[in-house]
């Protein structure tokens, strides 16, 4: 950005109305943003902050008339995008302003070859000859770093991985060399190593072509990685904007400060205590294969989700099981809580082999090992009251109803909720509160081991910090062993005493968190750590308040 230059895209006082009965009257209120040529503007905010609505307004993708802009202007090359007719808007989309979306898995037509889908972009904007179209498509696929572009152009989407599909989407967005690229959380659905590659690609292409990129994200690590300027949104308003360096390291607005303080540091704190508790869980040589059913003519396929997995976990200790999607970390967790039957190996809990238990013996043993689930919206029965949900466990193990409900009220207080919450239904709570309820349910049986499967990955960063604090605090107070499954190395750094890194069903490295992060021995661990977005950026010291936002309720 050169000062004095006219902005490429100029949003002035934009207000977008929400339908009646929504949480607030306006999705976006008086938002003013400028995007200059040759810069990446990151719009950050938590869910519901209005960042996606802003982007969709620019593209004319609002679900009108339910959600409609009521004030403000969006100027692009001297024209107000809000006043354009549909045909004018259509001509402009793709040619001048393009967009990439969050979910690459569903964004491509599954029954159309990649090359043909890319070619359609040219057809929609005054076509090209066949031969030229073909060569342009190949050129584009090469530009986004896809190997063997000719072959990929001939393939159907299902042959491509998530990262490759996102590259195709980027190629599609860039086909007509737009001046503005809007990216709505384009890396959120991707693994961390893939995310790093896509971020680098976006940055390279932006520099090469001098585009203005508006990059929407909730992740401050990503911001630190690619932003030139940052705008922070809260509840539909821009509360702070400025150069990346200033916003990240010296935020002015209180909300920004709180958000940044809640970002877990990628560097683990020094180990607090020597691990000396007795060993609670020992997994030895755990095997799990997924076999697709053998058809009449096709042989069954078998995938090894866990092979020869060994885990040792002491009382009062947190072991982080990290890895990318498909690495088998959830499978291991589910085998330990016996939601899945393992195909081999032993799961010893104080010398009792959980893997060998069946029927009534298994049901009785279940109370010692509990689980906290990933999705706080799917893990609570929508038709049962919160008190009941928590009391069900003890009741299944013979506690009378009255006592179980009393215990539920106690547990609600323990996880920082009002005991009166027991009479309400899950949908009346926010994501963070629901996750607290999920934790209370797991604690109701006084377990010795808790398996937490991505317990914070569906939560906003400030809520994430609170739930992590709660888990760490409870673990210490109740002397629990915690198996913490996560893909987020920042989160793992903060909560785990030891780390086990999984890849393709195998544990490739294990050790104390600080050691693994400081001196990873395995190549894969090294590449994972290198891919953590914003690794070079430290949450500024004056904002760190322990690791917590204690006192605030979710």
């Amino acid at each position: 950005m050169t000062p004095g230059q006219a902005p490429l895209l100029d949003i002035q006082g934009l207000t977008v109305r929400l339908p009646h009965g929504a949480e607030r009257p306006h999705a976006v209120e008086e938002v003013s943003l400028q995007l200059f040529a040759g810069e990446i503007l990151c719009v950050v905010g938590e869910s519901g902050s209005g960042k996606s609505i802003s982007a969709n307004t620019i593209m004319g993708l609002l679900p009108r008339p339910w959600v409609e802009p009521v004030a403000g202007r969006i100027l692009f090359e001297g024209r107000d995008l809000l006043s354009l007719s549909d045909p004018e808007l259509r001509r402009m989309r793709g040619r001048d302003i393009s967009m990439i979306f969050q979910e690459p898995m569903t964004a491509l037509n599954p029954v159309m070859r990649i090359g043909d889908q890319l070619g359609e972009v040219f057809d929609a904007h005054g076509g090209l000859g066949r031969a030229e179209r073909r060569s342009r498509v190949t050129e584009l696929l090469r530009a986004v770093g896809l190997p063997d572009p000719e072959t990929i152009g001939q393939s159907y989407p299902f042959r491509l991985s998530g990262g490759q599909r996102q590259r195709v989407m980027i190629a599609m967005a860039l086909a007509l060399s737009p001046k503005v690229l809007i990216a709505d959380e384009p890396t959120t659905a991707l693994d961390v190593t893939t995310q790093a590659q896509i971020l680098a690609l976006v940055k390279d292409l932006q520099r090469e072509r001098g585009m203005g990129v508006m990059f929407i994200t909730h992740d401050f690590g990503v911001v630190a990685e690619i932003a030139d300027r940052v705008a922070v949104m809260q509840l539909g308003r821009v509360v702070e904007q400025g150069p990346a360096d200033q916003v990240l390291n010296d935020p002015r607005h209180d909300y920004t400060r709180r958000l940044i303080a809640a970002v877990p540091s990628a560097d683990p704190p020094p180990p607090k205590n020597e691990q000396s508790g007795p060993v609670l869980l020992r997994v030895e040589g755990l095997e799990k294969r997924y076999v697709t059913e053998r058809g009449l003519f096709a042989a069954g396929r078998s995938v090894r989700a866990a092979s020869a997995v060994d885990i040792t976990l002491r009382r009062g200790e947190t072991l982080g099981l990290v890895g990318e999607s498909g690495s088998g970390k959830s499978t291991v967790g589910r085998c330990i809580v016996r939601l899945l039957d393992s195909d081999g190996g032993r799961i010893l809990l104080d010398e009792i082999d959980l893997a060998a238990l069946r029927g009534e013996a298994l049901r009785a043993a279940r109370k010692r090992v509990q689980m906290v689930f990933q999705d706080p919206f799917a893990s609570l029965n929508p038709r049962r009251r919160v008190g009941r949900i928590i009391a069900e466990g003890p009741m299944a193990h013979g506690l009378p109803e009255r006592a179980a409900l009393d215990r539920a009220a106690e547990l609600l207080r323990l996880v920082g909720l009002d005991p009166a919450a027991a009479d309400r239904f899950p949908h009346e709570f926010s994501g963070g509160q629901r996750q607290r309820i999920g934790i209370a349910r797991a604690l109701a049986l006084e377990p010795e081991l808790i398996v937490a499967d991505e317990p914070v990955s569906a939560l906003d960063v400030s809520v994430q910090a609170q739930v992590l604090d709660l888990l760490a605090d409870l673990r210490q107070r109740l002397n629990l062993a915690l198996l913490f499954i996560t893909h987020d190395l920042r989160v793992a750094a903060q909560i785990c005493d030891r780390i086990a890194v999984m890849r393709r069903g195998e544990i490739v490295e294990t050790g104390p968190t600080a050691e693994v992060y400081a001196a990873p021995r395995h190549d894969y661990t090294r590449s994972l750590l290198a891919a953590v977005p914003g690794r070079h950026w430290q949450v500024p010291g004056h904002l760190q308040t322990g690791s917590s936002l204690q006192g605030a309720s979710t």
Partner: protein, 279 residues
């Protein structure tokens, strides 16, 4: 509950349907008061057209029986058969569907093949055969209708169970050690009830039609006056005495229509996300 009523009442057709059903139910309940005598009794001269003699507003049939009395008493039979057979069908369908969907594997295969056995036989033909074998009484009619109408319920419930089974709240119930029975009854079943209720309301309508068709063919309970029987008995004189089949026909039409309207309204109210936006 308030929200439910609000959404239900937004569908004007459903409210109208509910009103019609309430009237039909009231008439059926009041039948012994309105027409204390048996509807089979011959009370006037035959072939009396409607509105020609005071007290016999809907005329009389070929044997001089009061058509109004027949329609009113017929409502009892139609509603009774419709409700009871649907209840039986829902109980069978929900149990089999729940077991198949929850346990999967061989149990699922077995139960679903069994269901398909019923689905491959034309349901009306099967109902006729069942009633003919069992002797036409009201019990056998109810049983026959129930036996031919449960398979769609089983399929629906199985599908819901299959998708809910893998949801995290069900897995959480497994982890806290709830027994399979409790999980089926308290965790999954309440979440499948909305579509089942909607389907049941439509099944009552189908059951009434089936009962009428059976009675039309002379396979109804010979001791009970029903709408289908009245139409069947009047079909030979359709051109001379239109009213004999017209009034019971209208009764069937209105009741079935009302039930369908209510079913649609229930669908809108119980599955608000699927409701059409236009209303």
């Amino acid at each position: 509950m308030d929200g439910f009523w609000k959404r239900f009442c937004r569908n004007k057709g459903a409210v109208l349907g509910l009103a019609i059903i309430v009237i039909v139910v009231l008439v059926a309940l009041a039948a012994p008061l309105l027409y204390p005598q048996s509807p089979w009794r011959m009370v006037q001269r035959p072939f009396l057209p409607p509105f020609s003699v005071d007290g016999f507003w809907l005329g009389t049939d070929t044997l001089g029986r009061d058509i109004a009395a027949g329609v009113v008493h017929g409502a009892r039979v139609s509603l009774l058969v419709g409700l009871v057979s649907t209840l039986v069908a829902v109980v069978i369908g929900v149990s089999l569907g729940a077991l198949a969907g929850y346990y999967g594997g061989l149990i699922d295969d077995g139960l679903m093949r069994f269901t398909e056995l019923f689905q491959t036989i034309p349901s009306f033909a099967l109902a006729i055969v069942l009633v003919a074998i069992l002797q036409p009484t009201v019990d056998s009619v109810v049983l026959a209708i129930a036996l031919v109408s449960w398979p769609p319920v089983a399929r629906l419930v199985r599908g819901e169970f299959l998708s809910l089974r893998s949801r995290e709240f069900v897995q959480a119930a497994v982890v806290i050690g709830q027994s399979n029975g409790r999980i089926i009854l308290t965790q999954i079943l309440p979440n499948t009830l909305s579509p089942v209720i909607v389907m049941a309301s439509l099944m009552v309508a189908t059951a009434i039609l089936l009962e009428s068709s059976l009675s039309f063919l002379g396979l109804g309970d010979p001791n009970l006056m029903s709408w289908g029987y009245m139409i069947g008995a009047a079909r030979t004189v359709l051109r001379q005495a239109w009213w004999m089949s017209f009034f019971p026909g209208i009764a069937i039409l209105l009741t079935v229509l009302a039930l369908n309207l209510v079913g649609e309204g229930l669908n809108d109210a119980l599955n608000p996300r699927l409701a059409r936006r236009s209303r």
